[in-house]
Symmetry: C2
Subunit: 83 residues, 2 copies
Amino acid sequence: MTQFMDIHHGMQGITADQLRQAHEADLAIQEEESVYFRQAWADPDSGTIYCLSEAPSAEAVQRIHERTGHKADEIHAVPLMVQ
Amino acid sequence: MTQFMDIHHGMQGITADQLRQAHEADLAIQEEESVYFRQAWADPDSGTIYCLSEAPSAEAVQRIHERTGHKADEIHAVPLMVQ
């Protein structure tokens, strides 16, 4: 499993409820692709969402996002992490 | 305090040690600007680093990154989060 950061643009004005609903839609079907969404952050001003997951591939992440109606604009493996 | 996601480009080939050293340099002086770096993720292939912090402003985040020699290319407030 690799960590991925995916990015969605054009989400200006997204609310906390909308972010939670989108995330919960992903969580509801994620196991069908062995994807595990960990966290997501949103900037309503620039309309950007950052979404962190663990998954077997970027394609698996995208399949979940496509099925829930919010295809990612970019998906990058982020194999390195510090905290 | 607001959460911020900052992004660094052009870091192709960054190693785990280099990411950790950069993060530790930030941690060492972060309190001088009341910035708290939480996590960072790196994609050595695209050369992208994503860095999550809590801070009073984007300018405070940038001042720390500038002093440690790795100015961010983008800094976005991310007031919304789910996990």
